[in-house]
């Protein structure tokens, strides 16, 4: 049953030109194409729908087991299963576009050129922006490599910018020594916003079979377990770059979101939370609204980056 709730003006934000009714977006790969959650969420009350990672050609993803629960977290190795950009444009977007919510397409390529092609395909389609996934740890080619080297990350972003007039969000991998270096590289390459974190690379072993639990041996860790790491990186990046930062990693409640906002995130995304509470994007936004009201604050921007250091 759809959760009836309407965002107040105090939650409205604008991220790199994308107007959102709330600062709570949904994280790519955790909310499908949005329509799957309409039984529970009025999409017009979601900040933005970031759709599943999309590639030029359809992908079947990884074989074998794809998820494993871990303490306060989960591992996944979906492997970018998706219908491909063509199918997205013809079969999914027309329906999704009827909803009053910005649609952001998360794109993934095997080569710098593929990212450019994807951006070009999506030009003029009516989507609100592109999120460049340079960080997905599951794909053996590409993925991890782009996201862990400042030069290649910058090259991807430049290529996407060159092929698009849309706002471009660069999504960073946390599996790096220096997240600020990565953030500055993509900012320098023209990214209009930066989102982080993608998943931490992890693993689980079945002690009965002596085999990895996941079909792909390793997978990406998400959920509450990673929140401290995500928050630290968001804080480091937000104080180092001028473009808006979209924070994510383990956000389950309005309180969690407030931590990210105080750390400097201009907006947040909920990911794993959607699997536990299908109304999460709305309940987290409502939690932020309550927080603001209790403190008689007029607008969510009044708390963004307001962390007080000793």
């Amino acid at each position: 049953m759809q959760c009836r709730w309407e965002a107040k003006k105090s939650l409205a934000v604008n991220i790199a030109g994308i107007a959102m009714k709330t600062p709570v977006m949904v994280a790519s790969g955790t909310f499908g194409f949005g329509l799957e959650f309409e039984d529970f969420v009025d999409l017009s009350q979601v900040g933005a729908v970031v759709v599943k990672g999309t590639t030029l050609l359809p992908r079947a993803g990884n074989s074998g087991r794809r998820i494993a629960e871990t303490p306060a977290g989960m591992l996944n190795c979906i492997g970018l299963e998706n219908p491909g950009v063509e199918e997205f444009l013809t079969a999914i977007l027309p329906e999704l576009s009827r909803r009053d919510v910005p649609v952001i397409v998360n794109i993934s390529g095997n080569t710098v050129e593929e990212y450019g092609e994807l951006a070009a395909c999506l030009e003029g389609s009516g989507v609100a922006g592109l999120e460049v996934n340079i960080s997905c740890p599951n794909v053996k080619q590409g993925g991890i490599a782009f996201g862990t080297c400042p030069d290649s990350a910058a090259a991807v972003v430049r290529m996407v910018k060159a092929n698009s007039t849309l706002p471009v969000i660069a999504k960073l991998s946390p599996n790096v020594t220096d997240i600020v270096l990565m953030a500055k590289a993509v900012e320098g390459a023209g990214a209009d916003a930066i989102s982080l974190i993608n998943t931490l690379l992890g693993m689980a072993i079945d002690i009965h079979s002596w085999k990895p639990v996941l079909g792909n041996t390793v997978g990406g860790l998400s959920g509450p377990a990673v929140k401290p790491v995500a928050l630290r990186m968001v804080w480091q990046v937000a104080r180092a770059v001028a473009v808006p930062v979209i924070g994510m990693g383990g956000i389950m409640t309005g309180e969690d979101a407030v931590e990210f906002l105080l750390a400097g995130a201009a907006a947040v995304s909920v990911g794993t939370a959607n699997f536990i509470d299908p109304t999460a994007p709305v309940s987290v936004a409502a939690g932020i609204q309550t927080y603001l009201e209790q403190r008689r604050l007029n607008h969510v921007n009044d708390i963004v980056g307001q962390l007080i250091l000793a």
């Binding site: 794809r66 998820i67 389950m252 794993t272």
Partner: protein, 256 residues
């Protein structure tokens, strides 16, 4: 209006069916009213991050009037361990009804279930009444005797195999299946259980040209078709989501 709910549900009662198996009755009126045989619920067991994810269970009975539904589950890990400790009044969050459910067709249906795979078949058997329903059930040993009692009320004929022969015929359901098919004129087969059993049932059904539906299991996060945790390869080369395209498939759709 939509038919899916994420409702705070209360435990009405819980009974032991064997050492390791329990039947849990939940008050979840929205789900109970909308649910069809073969659909499942996805339960958030504790208001904690341990365990984090929901747990999927087939529904074995639903009473729209009372607003209750039943599941039968085996205690295997953390989540089911916590469930086993629940008593009347305890809360869980119930997401459902999920999945597509069985297509209740056929005048002389045969149900083939192995282990906990009998759970969704139980509600189906009830729904197929008063048509004559035959069930072929397989289990490890006589400790799974409770299934016989449960199906007795809804089925005409019950055939049993156990791995150790401690109840019914020794062997696997699929060992007995050809014999049963030869002796009867079933016009529809429904099956749920371990993957190798489903593959064998589907093969035998195809040989006899009897329409067959199988209910699959997979590891699930969202249960809503969004995360792609649970997809499997269709025989046409396209992926299927077990949680929304299934868990029930025509055998030929997913089993070669």
């Amino acid at each position: 209006m939509s038919g899916k709910f994420a409702e705070p549900a209360r435990v009405v009662s819980q009974v032991s069916l064997s050492d390791e198996v329990r039947r849990l009755t939940l008050a979840a009126p929205g789900t109970a009213a909308a649910l069809r045989p073969g659909q499942f619920v996805h339960l958030k067991i504790a208001d904690s991050y341990e365990p984090l994810l929901r747990r999927p269970f087939s529904v074995t009975a639903a009473d729209p009037a009372a607003g209750t539904l039943e599941i039968i589950y085996r205690i295997v890990g953390k989540g089911t361990g916590l469930m086993a400790a629940m008593t009347a009044g305890d809360g869980v969050n119930c997401l459902g009804p999920l999945g597509n459910g069985f297509t209740p067709q056929g005048q002389r249906p045969l149900l083939v279930g192995g282990g906990m795979g009998l759970a969704p078949l139980l509600m189906l058997a009830g729904a197929l009444c008063p048509r004559p329903v035959t069930v072929l059930m397989g289990g490890r040993d006589h400790r799974e005797l409770f299934w016989t009692d449960l199906f007795a009320g809804v089925c005409h004929n019950t055939h049993i195999t156990t791995d150790d022969g401690s109840m019914g015929r020794q062997g696997l359901t699929v060992d007995l299946l050809p014999e049963l098919l030869a002796q009867n004129h079933f016009d529809m087969i429904y099956s749920c259980g371990p993957q190798p059993m489903l593959a064998a049932v589907a093969r035998i059904a195809a040989l006899r040209q009897i329409p067959c539906q199988v209910s699959l299991e997979d590891y699930m996060a969202c249960g809503l078709g969004a995360c792609l945790s649970c997809t499997c390869a269709g025989t046409d080369g396209k992926r299927r989501k077990v949680c929304t395209d299934g868990p029930v498939f025509w055998a030929g759709e997913v089993l070669a």
